[in-house]
Symmetry: C2
Subunit: 986 residues, 2 copies
């Protein structure tokens, strides 16, 4: 079947064209095509990882070429030169982080030339975010941020017309629906990628379904976005890689015995003819490029020029192949003008498998500490952005520090950064980069807090190692400490705060001097034993604090002269035990039942329901192969491939119990390298599992992957749910996919899905939800079961490029990781999955803690915080940040699908921000919403209707208002799961 | 010792500068230097082999990059672009063959730009010949031709100022004095190279003798030429290779943790400071480039720009290093202005050894059939050039065919072509290229002969396989044949001619119908047994013909109806035998005595002297190692390294005797794969040894190198003589060198020298000379002994890059080679080495044979040949060829050192060529001799005199005359060994 030669004869209306060129910025520079031919859009591109085998700077400068030959500076140097030579040539630039660095090094003359190239559509930005982010392990907040960052630079530098119009996610290892939704909400016309389950791809190739319309949200009717899968990964056609990295022969057109024009043209025509049979339209897109190609762009363009020339010369002999330089957005522009419909897509593209033993589900968990550090970075970034806005920090120094943190977080989203699929040395560089950026931005936070309070000399120090109960300032016993809690949420929040201390007796008071109930909780022995820390913190001071929306709050901690060792016994409460080999940990909301003889959790009661929930740790052995053929694939940084059965650690475990006033904990010593605290707080409706894993032993020559597993009697019927980048939930059916019959040779890893924020199972009565503190892989292999992979240590590379086993070490031993999993048992159908989502938000952006010594803090407390109405429940201020001079960006989110439409009047917030004008913008923040236009495509089954350009359907008129207007004009409504973005001009 | 910091304070006279810039074309664009600093001349260059691991076209186009990543088209593309960006940048282009091809593909605009770059000295030509020729195995006639070809293109394209002024022989494996002499005679100011015996180089490094003044001729007083050895091969300094082929880090000068400016500058300054201690001047030259580098020249220049900037920035902190882009000629320009003297050099730089087991003396013989084919190519080229001139062939077709043959011969001179050090596939490409060029030029010869005779329809076919007694036309028995003999010498010459025939009875008549004495000689059985030929030639018809200078002559061969088998016995003469186990072969000039029982030659009598000369073949086993360390070096394409003792084939050999009227032969069957014909002709004063070797067996797993060895009682006292590229003779002392104590660990290969034309030993009474028919390695390991290596077949690569064992095969077996060695025994001191030299000339350019069927040749013979005086003995017309429209190039040579000064009046020749004007030019033919200026340098020991530019000393005023002048003005004299070159304008 060959669509383009068939009855779908194409015509282009002249009038339509005019309409199009009025509406569409830049498409007038798209190449001319021929309606009676197969139009082959050659798309020159270079895929430039923002770190992978080399660090970002090594890639940029082209150093350490012994690791990988790659130098982005030269790519951009030579590509721009080649583009300047011939107006027909095109190139797409994807990663704005690299482009930003390169552009900043250019002369004024060169900048003018580049602007001209961009204005003429010869250099086109595709994707355009700071990096090409991963789609499995990222949180939507950070994805939006990094698009904001990239697109803002492009807009500020090249104007609105330079704005990318297509997503170019060619390398990420699977594709999320939320990413597609974000593209739609940014006004992108479509997205392209290259990786898809090989069975699905083959199915699509055969059924003309390589390109489709993806409904990217359950909640927005018009979240549809054109989605195209590249024909053969993202490289040039076999034999046509004209790049210094390749060994394909050039086009030899001189007088030579080696002249190969005829043969090369034959081969190319055969290739595109064959390719076109897998696509519906008489346009096909052929990427020309690959990883770090175009370092010597002359080689590429010189040969592509010749290829185009000689292929098109064949038209004189009747060839129907029309070849030209193009871009993905020009390709899509042509497609959208066709009377063509496309298949539908509603689910996502996870998990990705490249062969029957290679499910790329290991990276969902790889490098767990890096994945968590990225979340810390986001947490701090959001806090600093808010504080900077409120304190109106505008100095160059502050702006720069904030930019550096934004950029670092942009880099971290890269699909070889947060994924953990980079080399060890690169991971260290990322950590260093993010650490330095946080340290730099700490000054902003401190300066902002000094402005926002009357404490102009307080330290406002952060403690980045609080997760392992380390903080130098609080552990110095002589100090009386002030803890400043910053609440980044737009709601008042009450949270338990933990501060590592040495003395065992403290008085805790709020900023009004009122004493707050607190208790001293022992730190697990395993934490005390961590090698690199001093041994002086044996306890954490725990107290509950309530902080208003977007605000800060002081807690004063004064060591008291009580005796040691009195305390814990004073505060602890006898444990309820019974005869049935059980003991319980219980508070007003939750009851946990443990098996006394083994120490394992066996049942949970909360939210009015009880369930036998057994929690344990278990170990997969990583498959060790030589990678030569598929069945010898090793488990590695990308791929999770267990070897044999799981080993569940079900034996009796040592444990101790702390049953305090507000805090109740069971400390489990599972084995020499796995321990856990199971914890409930009074008034907190979730169970906390704080795990500590490592060093994972490999003395036996076997790599291991550690999971936590919850079993129950919930009849989940092969179904479980996982979130998409922290937003909407997707239904997963064990061993099934939406579109195709998967090859389930690897039945464990083939059922793993990314869990960015939560996963759950449910039946008619109960739902068990797990929330996590970083991205992990998760599954439900049996009904009633939930499994999250927490940590991995492997001894073999999985041969997908990274060239190292994922064998993280620290201090000469395997890396120790710590983290939390939260469990919520809820009643169905009474409670929809809303509370869990709310919990995720609070866990995602908890109070940010700053520490000062009391002698630097005056006793009178003063706060200058914005004065605006509390947000409705389920509505959040996703972003509050400096945008540019006198401009603030606000993002409002209705984050729950079950809370209904929310209305909110922004006038008080607008006023408190000293606003003069406000207008609504695209999700990324860089284009007025009223300017957003998107191509509309036609589904299969909806009938073929004439192509047209339409406004993206929004259920609201974009907000545009100014200070002269009545407050009622500032009211906005948000549909369930909707995000709306605004710029306030001060 | 550190010259530049010492007492040799330098000053540059302003007036001197003016004088210089008047005299010197282009030096005004040389970079400014600083007299109080170490001036570091960075010389960007790319070493582009005209074939080696890949073919010429593969290198040019950049195809087959799996073999070696190299694409010259891109080098020139990107280098030119980079040069256009900054007027300070420089680049030297060396191989004109590549440049010619590239330039022909450029647009008019680009050509203008390139001309501008050349005019401004930014793109400078160095060397400039068609290829960078080898120096051991080439014949001077072909070297001159390929310089003519390259420099002519440069002059025609870019004018006189583009003419290279320095030789750039950076890669050839040893350096000949004749090459230096040719440079001097072309007006070059100096030459640079990189390879020298490692012991000598170390000695020179320590003794400030890296740069020297080479007296390149025994006969010309002013053949002196500045000669510089590069400090560390020809690559960039370690760590500073800024090229896509390298992995050295770039200069990282941005805001980055990786910023390495300080470290890189420190390292570079340390390097050049250390380097400068091995050189006399305060200028040093640092090459920046290597094999096929600059394919992405932006990388190179961008980083060199930064290096220069940051190194020179250090001058603000007191650094005395001054770094800039330069060229070798600018470097030399600075040196020649210094009040500086230089050490002397008189001998050559052979053999080259790179370590104590690696004497590069194998390539003197490698690929013996290719080396011979190259000589055939030269022979045919010279003939065709003469015929084209005489017949005034000026059509585009003829001009092009001639150009292609000239270019092919230019390529063949390349130091990986004629050397035999290329890969097998490349060797085949060379052969194909030369074969096609010869076939193409055969049309020129045929058309010229048709013009020059009244035989406008004769075939004038050549037979390229005459050396193995194959010629289709003469072997077709039905034909009556006309053999047209073309004598390319400027003397009447009498030579025996051999024509393969099938019938055994012929009448041979000259062009006047007079019968010529002829005889039928049997072809050796081993030749009949060659696999790929039909078996119908069993005989060769031999007759003696005399042809006038630069003329042609017809011989008519008519098969006669005599019976077979009558013939040989009729003509043979009984062999003289005696009782002493001897038999003799004898004619009026020569007496050869053989041992009857063994078949070996044992004595020779000729020229009035007798000597016991024993000839035998012998075998070296090639050393087989793993090449890991020096002592494991294998014998290979470059290196000759025998394993153990030589195996002399001294056993009894089978033989047969043909004792004819004019021809006497002993056919020796040495073993299954070595045979030989020892031959004397009546009236010819030399003994001919026609050897046939192969397939060399390697079934025993051992590579073998076959030599012919002549032993005698001549008391040669450790001394022997070998020619330098076919011109002057050099004295070789066993185990000794001119300048240094060589490491003679490899005492056999370390005594091998290139024998391009002849070698001899002598004592007070006798001289034994061997002349050969192609380049070979030769030595004299014992007094009285002469040894030539004839053939090599090896099983291991010697790890100098070619990556293949030198294991030539044909028809699935080892390659069979055939060739001739000529022996002359002469009386000393009566006869100087003059007759031998004369013989070399006749052997080098024998009659060229063309075959036609008689029915196409009319009976009346007409020749239009030039009418001029016979040249004096020892004087030769080295070149007679079309130069350009209406211009003819003539080269006269006094080729003997012992014949004294020769005078000759060129007027008749001038007139016969329809000359209107004649002027003398440099040796290459492209610059009027009166314009030639060369830098003059000062020797150590001659005192320091002010620098100046002087005319090259010539003992004659350049001839410049025109047709209005008296004939006496056309008289020229030639000193011994002098060559004078003229252009005749018609």
């Amino acid at each position: 079947m060959n669509y383009f030669n068939g009855i779908l004869v194409l015509f282009v209306l002249a009038t339509l064209n005019i309409v199009v060129s009025e509406h569409v910025c830049g498409f007038e520079s798209c190449p001319k095509t021929k309606s009676n031919m197969i139009n082959v859009h050659l798309v020159p591109h270079s895929h430039d990882d923002v770190g992978w085998l080399k660090t970002v700077d090594q890639y940029y400068y082209g150093s350490n070429n012994n690791i990988q030959h790659a130098g982005v500076q030269y790519i951009l140097d030579t590509v721009v030169e080649e583009l300047l030579k011939d107006s027909r040539r095109r190139f797409i630039q994807v990663e704005t982080s690299f482009f930003f660095k390169w552009y900043s090094e250019q002369t004024v003359t060169m900048k003018i030339a580049v602007k001209q190239l961009v204005a003429e559509g010869r250099l086109e930005f595709a994707g355009g975010a700071w990096s090409m982010n991963d789609e499995a392990t990222v949180h939507y907040q950070s994805v939006i941020d990094q698009f904001n960052l990239g697109l803002k630079f492009l807009k500020d530098t090249f104007g609105t017309c330079a704005r990318p119009r297509i997503g170019w996610q060619i390398d990420p290892f699977g594709h999320s629906r939320e990413m597609a939704s974000i593209f739609a909400q940014m006004g992108y016309n479509g997205e392209f990628f290259a990786r898809m389950d090989y069975v699905e791809k083959n199915t699509r190739l055969k059924s003309l379904a390589m390109e489709m319309i993806w409904r990217s949200s359950e909640y927005f009717k018009d979240s549809e976005i054109f989605t195209g899968l590249l024909y053969q990964h993202y490289g040039s056609p076999p034999g046509f890689c004209f790049d210094i990295h390749c060994q394909d022969d050039p086009i030899i057109d001189g007088k030579s015995y080696d002249n190969n024009v005829d043969k090369r043209v034959d081969d190319f025509i055969a290739y595109v003819t064959s390719m076109s049979k897998s696509f519906r339209a008489n346009h096909i897109m052929v990427p020309m490029g690959d990883d770090f190609q175009y370092e010597d762009a002359e080689v590429n363009f010189k040969n592509m020029d010749k290829l185009i020339k000689y292929v098109n010369n064949r038209q004189l002999e009747g060839s129907k192949i029309n070849l030209f330089y193009s871009t993905p957005s020009c390709y899509l522009y042509e497609l959208h003008q066709l009377l063509q419909s496309w298949p539908n897509k509603t689910e996502d593209f996870f998990p990705y498998s490249s062969d029957n033993h290679s499910y790329w589900t290991g990276y969902f968990t790889s490098r767990p500490t890096q994945k968590r550090f990225e979340r810390d970075g986001n947490h701090f970034l959001q806090t600093v952005k808010q504080l900077s806005t409120l304190a109106n920090l505008t100095s160059v120094k502050h702006t720069k520090s904030l930019s550096i943190l934004r950029q670092a977080m942009g880099v971290m989203q890269h699909h070889d950064a947060i994924t953990g699929t980079e080399k060890q040395a690169v991971a260290q560089d990322y950590d260093q980069m993010l650490y330095n950026a946080i340290i730099g931005a700490e000054n902003n936070a401190r300066d902002a807090l000094r402005v926002l309070t009357n404490h102009t000399s307080a330290e406002f120090q952060t403690c980045l190692e609080l997760n392992i109960s380390v903080c130098a300032l609080t552990q110095t016993s002589a100090n009386n400490i002030v803890v400043t809690l910053v609440n980044p949420l737009a709601h008042t929040s009450s949270q338990y705060v933990r501060v590592p201390v040495t003395e065992e007796n403290y008085q805790v008071t709020d900023e009004n001097g009122r004493e707050i109930s607190s208790e001293i909780v022992p730190v697990p022995l395993e934490i005390l034993g961590l090698q690199h820390r001093s041994n002086d913190t044996q306890h954490e001071l725990v107290f509950k604090a309530s902080v208003k929306k977007i605000s800060n709050f002081y807690i004063r901690v004064l060591p008291l002269p009580r005796k040691k060792n009195d305390l814990i016994n004073d505060q602890t409460i006898p444990i309820a035990e019974n005869d049935a080999d059980e003991f319980t940990l219980e508070n007003s909301l939750i009851r946990l039942v443990f098996t006394k003889s083994t120490g394992h959790l066996k049942a949970v009661k909360m939210n009015g329901v009880s369930e036998n929930i057994h929690q344990s740790f278990a170990i997969y052995k990583g498959f060790q192969g030589n990678n030569g053929i598929s069945k010898n694939r090793s488990s590695g940084a990308y791929v999770f491939r267990p070897d044999g059965e799981i080993q569940v650690l079900s034996d009796k475990i040592e444990y101790s119990i702390y049953n305090g006033k507000n805090v109740r904990e069971v400390h489990q010593h599972v084995n020499e390298w796995i321990s856990q605290v199971i914890r409930i707080y009074d008034g907190v409706n979730r169970v906390e599992f704080e795990w500590l894993i490592g060093p994972i032993p490999t003395d036996d020559g076997v790599g291991k992957e550690i999971v936590t597993r919850f079993t129950s009697n919930v009849y989940s019927n092969g179904t479980f749910y996982t979130d998409s980048n922290g937003r909407e939930m997707l239904k997963r059916k064990r061993n099934q996919r939406e579109f195709f019959e998967p090859d389930m040779t690897e039945e464990i890893s083939g059922n793993y899905h990314p869990v960015t924020a939560q996963m759950y199972i449910q039946d008619d009565h109960k739902r068990i939800t797990l929330l996590n503190d970083r991205s992990q892989g998760g599954t439900s292999l049996e009904d009633g079961e939930l499994e999250l992979m927490l940590h991995r240590r492997l001894l073999n590379d999985d041969a997908f490029g990274v060239g190292e086993a994922l064998n993280e070490e620290q201090f000469g031993k395997g890396l120790i990781a710590r983290g939390k999993v939260f469990l919520i048992l809820n009643a169905v159908p009474e409670n929809p999955n809303c509370f869990e989502r709310l919990t995720h938000h609070e866990l995602h952006l908890p109070f940010c803690k700053f520490f000062s010594k009391t002698n630097t803090v005056p006793s009178i407390v003063q706060h200058m915080m914005p004065d605006f109405n509390d947000f409705p429940e389920s509505m959040e201020l996703l972003s509050l940040e400096p945008y540019s001079t006198n401009k603030i960006l606000l993002r409002l989110e209705n984050f729950n699908s079950c809370g209904g439409i929310k209305s909110y009047n922004m006038h008080p917030l607008f006023e408190s921000l000293r606003g003069r004008q406000i207008w609504e913008v695209t999700l990324d923040g860089n284009m007025p919403l009223r300017q957003m236009k998107r191509f509309k495509f036609h589904h299969d089954g909806t009938g073929i209707i004439p192509s047209s350009v339409s406004y993206f359907f929004t259920p609201h008129k974009p907000l545009e208002a100014n200070y002269t207007m009545d407050a009622s004009k500032f009211s906005v409504t948000l549909l369930p799961m909707q995000i709306r973005t605004f710029i306030v001009h001060q």
